[in-house]
Structures are given as C-alpha cells and as structure tokens.
C-alpha cells in the first residue's frame, strides 16, 4: 500500500513541475484556557452562511470558522500553505493541478471529507445555473475531477490563470456534497454544516449567530466553548459595547476612536493594511480624459499625500501607489512612488489644462462631474479633487451616487458604450491574496466590457495585457516569475495614469485584553482556530 503511494507520488512529480509537500501545521498555545465564550461585534448584518453563495466579508467571519479551506494562507507571507490539501502539484503548462487531501477529516455531522466533496464544491460554484456570485473567482476553472477518494484534479480553461489566485479565498471552503444535496441550497445556507473548528448552532436574524466547538475537529481542539457574532450596524454603538465589555472584538473602529482606545487599558487596537485599493479613475474612452496630459494635470492639481492624511489622520488608511496593496507580493511602492507619482504642481497643471484648451481637447465651457459612492471618505477625496481642479481652471462638481445608479453609469450600456456621462470617478476594490485579483480585474482590456466588467476606466494597454496574461499562465505558477511580470505591467500601466492611486484601508480591530492568540489578517478574515493560532479567553 505504502509502495503504491510512493509510486503514485513519484509519477506525479515526473508529470508535474511543482510539488508542495508539508504537513498541515498544528497550532500550539500551552497554558491556554479551554472554555469560555467569545463575543464578536460585526458592523454588518449577515446575509449568507454558505461560502458558495456569500460574497460578503462579514459572512466570512462566521463561515470561515464553520468550514475549512482547501488550502490555507500563511499570515505573514500570504503564500498558500497546506490545509485540507496536504500537498499539491501543478503541471508544467499550468493547465491542471492535483490536490492530495488529508485523510480522516470529518464534517461536524460525522461524514468523511473526501475528493467528492471538494470537486462538488467547485463545480457547484462554477455552474452558471446556480448563479453563485463567486463564480468570477473561478473563471479559470473548467472542472474539478475526482481522481480517487483523497485526490482531486482541477482542469483549467485554455489560456487561463493557474489555480493560485482563486483558491486562496474564503469561498474556497469545502461543503459536504451529500448533506448539501439532501438539504437543498437554501436550507443549507441557513444552517450550514462544515468541517471547521466551530459548528453552527443558531442564527437569529439581525440579532446573533452562535457557534460552538466542533469536538471532532481534525486539526486541534478549539479552545472556545462558544462564539457569538452580534451584528451592530452603528459603529458608535459598537465602540460603546467594546468599552463596556459587551463584546470582546469589534471588527471595525473609526479613525476618531483609535487614539482613545490606544490609551485605554483593557482594549488593544490591532491594525494591518488590508488587501483593498481605492482610486481616482479616468474614463479613457473619450476626450479629454482619454488624453494622458489631462490625467497628469488632474494628478498635479492635488497633493494626494495631504488629501489621504486629511481623510484618515494617518490612522486607518495609508496612501496607495499602484493597485497592489503593500501586504501583497508584487507591490512596487518604492518605484511607483519615486518615479510615477506626481507632486502637486498647480502652475504645471494649469499650463497643461490651458494647452489642452487651446488645442480643443478640453472643449469650451467644459464642466466635469466626479462620481463616487455614498461613502464619506470617497466623497471627501472627490471634494478635495474638485476644489483643486476649480483652482486650476476646470469646472468640477462632486456627485455621490447610490450603488445602483453608480454601477449603471460605470458599467455603461449598448446605447452609451463610451460612457459619455463621466470623465472622473472614485471607486474601490478588495481582492484575495494574489496580485492578479487587482491588476487583472481593474486594468486589463478583457475587463473592459459593456454591461459587466470592472475596468471602469476602459483603459487598454496591449503590452501590459500580454504581461499579465503571461503572469497568469506562468508554468508551475512560479511566484518569482509572476511577480516580475506583474511589476512590469503595473509600471507600464501607471506611467499612463489611468488611475490616481488613492489609499489602502488599514484594517482596525478593537480587541479586549481577555482575548489571547488573536491575529489580525490583511485578508479581513477573523480566524479563531487555524494552523497558526487558536484563540482563547482569560476567565
């Protein structure tokens, strides 16, 4: 039996370029108290508890504990690490990847977790009939095939990204096939069953979700008896709850409260730059915003460092240079800051605007509207930009919009393929732990499609597109190669200023000092029991 396994392994190494072999790490925290209840304040109400259909990071707080991911993520390097899959291989041409699962993992209802469940999970998400909002994360996946009870193969679509970007996501949590089919998707969504460290107990809509320890958790005994998630939509109320001890963890903290809690005993403030990106963008489909000189003049009209500081006071947001957040590999802040970013220079900006007016690129009586969502931070940034443009001779006003009309405007329509109604807008994006999730969706030609895409600038750079495609299909998914390609693409793109990079959020959580071994992650997940930690509370 052992010989057969070794033979299979040897064959797979010969066939495939990369093999990751490592035991799934087991968290250790000697002296931890086993028991007690942890209460977490959540700033939004839960919507879905089935990872296949949820697209909310708040839902992920809960289902992240109820389910296990196929592969984990190193909290320090953000690189994939073994979890349910103890190892995996990627073929040289990147077209397939094979995952070898840990044996003996059980769902909380006693069912074995096998390759059938893994394949079912991903095939269900990618089946258009199921309408999963997470399907776009797996656009690269043709199908997942069961090789044997504990081996599953992912077959990519031709010329598509290797597995890495998609699978390091909370939606890559494995659901039990038989239970899902027996319960139906809607019932499963309301009472999920997973193989994670805590199992679902009850969901009182709007009030709380309760989990309790999964005594059969395969990795380690989770320390907490019970976890309660309480949606508290008003942040001021959440801060009062944290101060009064009604909750142990606040998932969010406004900038104005950071200093107060930092000086308070009993509460720690934990911060990390999140995998988010907020940006001022230009419509590159029509004049004058399709002219790089116009975009540069807008950039030079504004002191972006000062603008970002005035919004966050240096507490809950950090200036962005390029679309890749600082926590991710392929972040190229030094180069982009020193070479691409523009300082405020009103004289130069005004001269450029005047030149464009003389040439007729900026029409007479030109007036522009800066669109943004109903978000106070982005509205403030839009107001700063509009004020500075006014000072340099461009008539500009700010129009915050509800998501519905804003998306209608930015997605465009067949009647208005050039987006005639807008030149400048401010948007944001949160992606997973791979640079692909940012640069591909926001700035490639493939994502400039009327009606759906996320390249709202309609920016197109064939050279950069080719580099990104090369990075996405790098043989063996080699990170160093991919990083170099993404960096080069980003430099080419940002030298043409389709965006003025704005800021990355600093994820800020208030945590009671009774909570131990809690880690904050750039991914905005709250992990209570993972290969690197096992949260416990002092009684």
């Amino acid at each position: 039996m052992l010989k057969k396994g070794v033979l299979c392994l040897a064959i797979s190494v010969l066939m495939f370029g990369v093999l990751v072999v490592a035991d799934t790490a087991i968290p250790e925290n000697p002296g931890a108290y086993v028991g007690g209840t942890l209460t977490i304040g959540v700033s939004q109400t839960f919507k879905d508890l089935d990872p296949r259909v949820s697209n909310s990071v708040y839902d992920a707080y809960v289902y992240g504990e109820v389910f296990d991911d196929l592969i984990g993520l190193d909290p320090d390097t953000l690189e994939p690490i073994p979890h349910i899959a103890k190892s995996w291989t990627v073929s040289d041409d990147g077209s397939t990847s094979v995952f070898y699962l840990n044996e003996g993992i059980k769902f909380s209802n006693g069912e074995d977790l096998t390759a059938e469940d893994v394949a079912y999970t991903f095939n269900w998400i990618t089946d258009p009939a199921n309408g999963s909002p997470n399907a776009s994360e797996y656009e690269w996946l043709k199908e997942a095939l069961v090789i044997d009870k504990y081996t599953v193969m992912f077959v990519n679509k031709p010329d598509w990204t290797p597995f890495c970007p998609g699978l390091v996501s909370e939606s890559a949590s494995i659901v039990p096939k038989d239970t899902c089919e027996a319960m139906g998707a809607e019932a499963f969504n309301l009472a999920p069953i997973g193989s994670g460290p805590y199992k679902f107990v009850e969901w009182k809509p709007g009030d709380h979700v309760t989990l309790e320890r999964n005594e059969n958790y395969w990795l380690v005994k989770p320390n907490l008896d019970k976890v309660i998630y309480r949606p508290i939509p008003t942040l001021a109320t959440m801060m009062l709850e944290l101060e009064a001890g009604g909750i142990d963890i606040a998932d969010n903290m406004p900038a104005q409260d950071v200093a107060r809690f930092q000086s308070m005993t009993g509460v720690d403030v934990l911060q990390v730059a999140s995998l988010s990106y907020f940006y001022i963008a230009f419509n590159c489909s029509h004049a004058p915003s399709n002219d790089v000189r116009f975009r540069k003049a807008c950039y030079m009209s504004t002191d972006m460092d000062a603008a970002v500081f005035s919004i966050f006071q240096g507490l809950t947001g950090v200036r962005a240079y390029g679309c890749t957040p600082p926590a991710l590999w392929a972040n190229d802040t030094d180069y982009l800051k020193n070479t691409i970013a523009l300082e405020e220079d009103d004289a130069a900006a005004k001269a450029l605007f005047d030149q464009l007016k003389t040439e007729g690129v900026i029409p007479a009586n030109f007036k522009t509207t800066i669109y943004c969502p109903l978000d106070p931070r982005r509205t403030q940034l839009a107001t700063i930009l509009a004020t500075n443009l006014e000072e340099n001779g461009i008539d500009a006003e700010v129009q915050p919009l509800d998501w519905g009309p804003l998306l209608d405007l930015l997605y465009r329509s067949e009647d208005d393929p050039l987006g005639a109604g807008y030149e400048i807008f401010i948007m944001g994006w949160s992606g997973g732990a791979d640079p692909h999730n940012f640069i591909y969706y926001l700035l490639t030609t493939e994502n400039a499609v009327v009606g759906t895409a996320n390249n709202f600038s309609w920016y197109s750079n064939p050279e950069a597109d080719a580099l990104i495609k090369e990075a996405d299909t790098t043989p063996g998914c080699d990170q160093a190669t991919r990083e170099a390609l993404y960096v080069e693409a980003q430099r080419k793109i940002f030298a043409e200023y389709p965006h003025i990079s704005g800021y990355h959020y600093i994820e800020t959580r208030g945590v009671s000092t009774r909570v131990q071994d809690f880690q904050i992650s750039p991914l905005t997940w709250i992990q209570l029991c993972s290969p690197s930690n096992n949260v416990w509370v002092k009684e």
């Binding site: 879905d48 309408g131 709007g206 949606p231 001021a236 109320t237 997605y411 994006w429």
Partner: protein
C-alpha cells in the same frame, strides 16, 4: 357602529390596493439595477442574468406587479437575499418591534399623561416649567443621539444596563426574561422620548382648554371636590385629542423604530427595512412598506372607533 366599521374596512382595502400600486411604481422608478447591486462587484454576467431572471425582471410590468401581490397573498413570495418567504422574514422580526413599540408607548403614556395633567393643574409653577422644558428637549433631541447618550451613561459609565442588542428571550419575547427586560429599557426610552414629550404638551394644553369651560365652573359651583372636577369632568374630556394623537403615534413608532433599532442593534422590522433597502431586496421592502401602511390605517380606524366611547357627542350611525 358595526356598519361604520365595515364601511371603513372596505375603504381600507381600496386604500391598501392604491398603496400597493404606488409602492410598486416607486420601486420600479428607483434608479439602478437591483440585480447588479445584489450580485456585487466582480459578478459574472451569468450571475447577474440569473438574478434578473429569478426576480422576473424581463416580464411585463403588470405581470411583475401581480407576481408580487399574488406572492404576498399566498405567502410564497421569496425574499431574494434572505432565502425565505417575505412574510417569514417579517414575522421573525416582528415580535421585537411590537415589544419595543408597546414598551415605548406604555412608557410614553405612563409618564406623559400624569406629567401633562400636573403641569396643567399647577400652571406656571416650577413643576409646570420643568415639564414643559423637558418636553421641549424631548421633541428636539434626535432619537439616535439620545440612545447613544443613554448607552454611554447607563451602559458604559454606570454599568447598570446593557448597551445594545435584545438579550435573552423566552418564547420569542424579551420582556419575559430579566436579561431581556434590561435590554429593553434604553431602546424603549429612546423610542418613546418624542411621543412622551408631545403627549405631555398636548395633555397640558387640552386640560387647560377644558378647565376654562363653563361646565367646569358649574361643577365646582355644585360643590364637587376639586379632585372629582379635575379627574371626572375635566380630564376625561381633555383626553379625546390625546387619544387621537396616541393612535397616530402607533404608526409613527414604526418610522421611529428604523432609527432606534439601527442605533441600539435591536433586531426588529425597522432595522429589517434599513437592511433591505441597502440590499435592494425589493420584495421585503414592498412587504414591509405594505405592512407598515396597513398598521397606520388600522390604528386610524381604531382611533375613530374609540372616539365614540370617549366622547358621547360622537356617533357614527
């Protein structure tokens, strides 16, 4: 009286029908594609399309309208983002709001009517000034701010009440448990503050008006005690406008509940309305608006019927 009630019920059905039409037109007139908002950024065209088809957006408007109405009537209309029938979603949250509204109304009546009464009896006294000044503050202070201040004082500084949430429940009701009852106090005080203030001012004004009437002088001249004059003759007559106002406030409590429930993390239908608007769940917004509209109408009807009992001069047949 019975015939009057029947006539009003028939009228109510027509008004409800009109309300459904107005609500449907308003929902359809709202800018933006709800399917896109529900699907979120990054959703594939297939996902957005699947939501549109599921919601029946490609069907003619009148078909969509009757689908909504039919679904609400037979209880099968699904709340897209809650994965349950709309009525189930509303009924799950309703006890929390009924409980909060009833506690708020009870508190408002228990405090405001005696306060208004005493204020009128001791007109221009320090007590009168205290009541009128407090009432003015009650009307002026925003509900959400008052709730936050109550949480700060009683939850954080004094540690005598929980800050937010609903706490423990028994058979779905908070007031049946000590923990639930403690959770109820801050939201109920915040919600009732405006009603309390308005009722106190109205009771005072109404009492003063009645006490100027000649029949009050006649009662006194007959040698009745001041207590009998005030309570039996003045107060009962002064109560009619107050009852009208209280009836109208039943509906207003639902509107106030949106703010109070959101601020105090109270899981009622006020917060459900807020969440459903944000999520663009048109079916839930439609159902809730209709439900709240029906509550307004029924409370108006009950007020009209109660008039006949409070004021013998009023008859309907």
């Amino acid at each position: 009286m019975f015939g009057y009630a029947i006539r009003r019920m028939i009228q109510l059905a027509f008004v409800l029908f009109g309300l459904t039409v107005v609500l449907f037109v308003l929902l359809k007139a709202m800018p933006g594609d709800p399917a896109r908002v529900m699907a979120g950024l990054g959703a594939t065209p297939a996902t957005i399309e699947a939501i549109r088809v599921k919601l029946g957006f490609y069907k003619p408007l009148h078909v969509q309208y009757w689908r909504l109405i039919g679904g609400l009537c037979n209880g099968q209309l699904q709340a897209m983002t809650y994965h349950k029938p709309v009525w189930t979603v509303i009924i799950e949250r309703l006890p929390a709001t009924v409980e909060l509204g009833a506690a708020g109304m009870l508190l408002a009546l228990l405090v405001s009517i005696p306060a208004g009464l005493l204020s009128a009896i001791y007109r221009n006294s320090p007590l009168d000034y205290a009541v009128t000044t407090t009432a003015l503050m009650g009307i002026s202070i925003p509900v959400f701010w008052l709730a936050l201040m109550l949480m700060l004082v009683f939850g954080v500084i004094l540690h005598v009440l929980p800050v937010s949430g609903r706490g423990a429940t028994l058979w779905g009701w908070s007031f049946l448990t000590i923990d639930g009852l403690r959770h109820l106090i801050i939201p109920a005080v915040a919600l009732s503050s405006v009603q309390m203030a308005m009722n106190a001012r109205l009771t005072r004004a109404s009492m003063l008006e009645v006490m100027r009437q000649e029949y009050i002088d006649t009662a006194r001249a007959k040698g009745l005690t001041e207590r009998v004059v005030l309570i039996k003759h003045a107060f009962r007559n002064a109560l009619a406008p107050v009852v009208t106002n209280v009836g109208l406030q039943v509906g207003a409590l639902f509107a106030g509940a949106v703010l109070t429930e959101t601020t105090t993390a109270w899981p009622g239908i006020g917060r459900l309305m807020y969440e459903s608007i944000i999520r663009r769940d048109q079916a839930v917004v439609f159902g809730l608006a209709l439900f709240m509209g029906a509550c307004y109408m029924v409370s108006y009807l009950l007020v009209d019927i109660m008039y006949a009992y409070i004021d013998p001069r009023i008859t309907y047949d």
